[in-house]
Symmetry: C2
Subunit: 206 residues, 2 copies
């Protein structure tokens, strides 16, 4: 990348972060493009150069979730699947872009949007790691990577919502561990179930 491209990427990220903060605080309805521009310290022209509308901004925030998680991980296969959910659980408490992304994905129905990209992206990523697990002989016979991935995406969406209402997400890492303790014996071999580490600390990556 040359300097000009680098600056463009930086500006785009700056807008994305400002948008996420405003969406996180006020929801989609309560967020205006002008308040996002103000928060980013940029001009309306700069924003519209990168994003054509508020909806495009919301979609970009929703769909940036994997980028906030995947580069932090070093495990693979089934352990990586577990790690994704634990890092997600932890970073939801500290990363406004991730938090806004999840909020928008959950609430989008009520403002007429129906973008399942963030769900489908996670499903595809998780399916890939489960395929690896299958090749490594870690899955029980008959367990389909895609079925597990689809279920885990849905289940995580719901447990974070319940956790948010009940504890402001303070118990989310523990509830995510519960999920794996209940789910692993049904999807993984006894050897893999015994080997996979399920603990809130797995989410504490920088």
């Amino acid at each position: 990348m040359d300097l000009k491209q680098e600056r463009a990427v930086r500006t785009r990220n700056q807008i994305l972060r400002a948008a996420a903060e405003v969406f996180d605080e006020n929801g989609y309805d309560g967020a205006s493009v002008s308040s996002i521009v103000k928060r980013a310290g940029l001009t309306l022209g700069a924003l519209y150069f990168h994003f054509e509308s508020k909806q495009a901004l919301a979609e970009a925030v929703m769909n940036s979730q994997p980028q906030a998680i995947e580069p932090r991980l070093h495990s693979d296969g089934l352990q990586r699947l577990v790690d994704i959910t634990l890092v997600w659980a932890r970073r939801l408490q500290i990363d406004p872009v991730l938090r806004a992304g999840v909020r928008l994905a959950v609430e989008q129905g009520r403002f007429g949007m129906r973008d399942v990209t963030s769900f489908e992206d996670w499903k595809q990523i998780m399916t890939g790691h489960l395929e690896t697990a299958r090749v490594e002989g870690d899955l029980r016979e008959g367990v389909l990577p895609q079925t597990v991935a689809h279920f885990v995406v849905g289940a995580c969406t719901g447990i974070q919502l319940y956790s948010q209402l009940l504890t402001g997400r303070a118990d989310l890492a523990d509830r995510t561990c519960d999920m794996w303790q209940l789910l692993l014996p049904g999807i993984a071999t006894p050897e893999a179930t015994a080997r996979i580490v399920v603990a809130p600390e797995r989410g504490a990556v920088e």
Copy 2:
């Protein structure tokens, strides 16, 4: 009940149903008490005799979910737990009170409500059926009814949301069956796992 009490119950249900329809169509923000009164064909006085505010109405709609499901079931223990989720999956497509209840429970955060009663009621009901399953010897050793119930409530919340965005809930019964196929081996004995019927048709009760 005497005639007067019967009429009061009927009026209350009439209001609840009208409120559910209006919430289901317009969300909480878009619903006004006057539109609910109009839909119910009653007076504002009748409404305020039964419910003190729009929020009280929303809470009543959210918390009437078990009443729409539990009386329809005749199984017990683990089979009943499975049946609850399958009847819930099916009736979400046809029962506006249930649909509005779930919508309000999911969206309440954005209008400043934080009523976890509907989640906690389901959790308590499910914990009871899982206690029965444990007494009947159907649970694996070390599996705690309360942990399973908490997880199932959260997971169902999320899979219905994902299903709604992806297929307008057309695949919800199938996804609920997937959940049980993945989960049962981890929580139930092999005998119980083989015995429990998991099929969309279980949800087709009147």
